[in-house]
């Protein structure tokens, strides 16, 4: 299993906004346990999907030079359950980006229904945790994450 909870980007406006798609499927093993006979996507993984969507957006805004770490879940409200076969649209907007941190607001929709509202704060850790040493290489944006952005084609946008 790979820890990637979005399938692709369909919109990417550098430094501002991104929209990713996640298709939920019974091929995901955890859905057989969450819950037996009643598969629904765990809310925690929706937060992770939003963290990945917006983390890449925030990272790209600084040319992936910062180590962008999820520091705070400011808000996470869930309005609907998500089941196998559902297609989620995860939309993240940067509210604020500064040398040491960034905040985003996100919404998750399924068709036209509001599934979740998630606001997150990221820390650029090299600029924050004074005195702590981190590895030189950017371990946050590994090859798997970078592939997501490489695979982005503006023509994937629905209706274009």
């Amino acid at each position: 299993m790979r820890w990637i909870w979005i399938d692709k980007f369909i919109e990417f406006e550098p430094g501002r906004r991104a929209v990713a798609v996640k298709n939920v499927t019974m091929a995901e093993e955890h859905l057989h346990d969450h819950f037996p006979g009643y598969p629904i996507m765990p809310a925690s993984l929706m937060i992770e999907g939003m963290a990945q969507t917006s983390g890449i957006l925030v990272g790209q805004a600084r040319n992936f030079e910062e180590k962008v770490i999820l520091a705070k879940v400011v808000k996470a409200e869930f309005h609907e359950i998500v089941r196998p076969g559902d297609q989620l649209l995860l939309e993240a907007v940067i509210d604020n980006i500064a040398p040491e941190a960034a905040t985003i607001s996100g919404v998750i929709r399924c068709e036209d229904r509001l599934v979740a509202e998630i606001s997150l704060m990221f820390s650029h850790i090299d600029k924050n945790l004074a005195g702590m040493e981190f590895p030189e290489e950017n371990f946050v944006f590994n090859a798997q994450f970078m592939t997501l952005l490489k695979c982005y084609l503006p023509s994937d946008t629905p209706g274009t």
Binding site: A71, N96, A101, T103, M121, N128, A130, G131
Partner: protein, 131 residues
């Protein structure tokens, strides 16, 4: 922008309630951010971001919550307490803070108690009036 003390307090309160997920009535003048309202280090940045937006001001880092740099300086800290030079420096960099009480025992572990809701309101007040 001209705002009354009460207007500033209400707006600061609103932002602290959102940033720290605390109840309205917990945000009093004397409440300390860390001790009473449970703020952690990352929350301070969140609060700074929110206040900048809410009051349309720029808050230079190390102005509202300046203690960290000072504590890394050996000249200012001795035996877990601020030296008189350190205390003078801290007072100079935090004119919005009430030091009575802290002065008699400047234990560095008590520095976090200086960050009260009132200190933030005072700071914002100095900013919006001089702006």
């Amino acid at each position: 922008m001209s705002m009354s003390h009460d207007e500033i307090f209400e707006k600061v309160k609103e932002n602290l309630v959102d940033a720290l997920s605390v109840d309205d009535d917990e945000v009093t003048d004397e409440a300390t951010l860390m001790g009473d309202l449970g703020a952690e280090s990352i929350d301070f940045l969140d609060i700074v971001f929110r206040l900048e937006k809410a009051f349309d001001i720029k808050i230079p880092r190390e102005e509202l919550f300046p203690a960290e740099n000072l504590l890394n300086n050996a000249e200012y800290v001795s035996d877990g307490k601020l030296t008189s030079a350190g205390l003078a420096k801290l007072k100079e960099s935090m004119p919005h803070v009430d030091f009575s009480g802290f002065e008699s025992d400047p234990d560095i572990n008590k520095i976090s108690d200086l960050f009260t809701v009132r200190a933030i309101v005072n700071y914002i007040e100095s900013k919006v009036i001089t702006a």
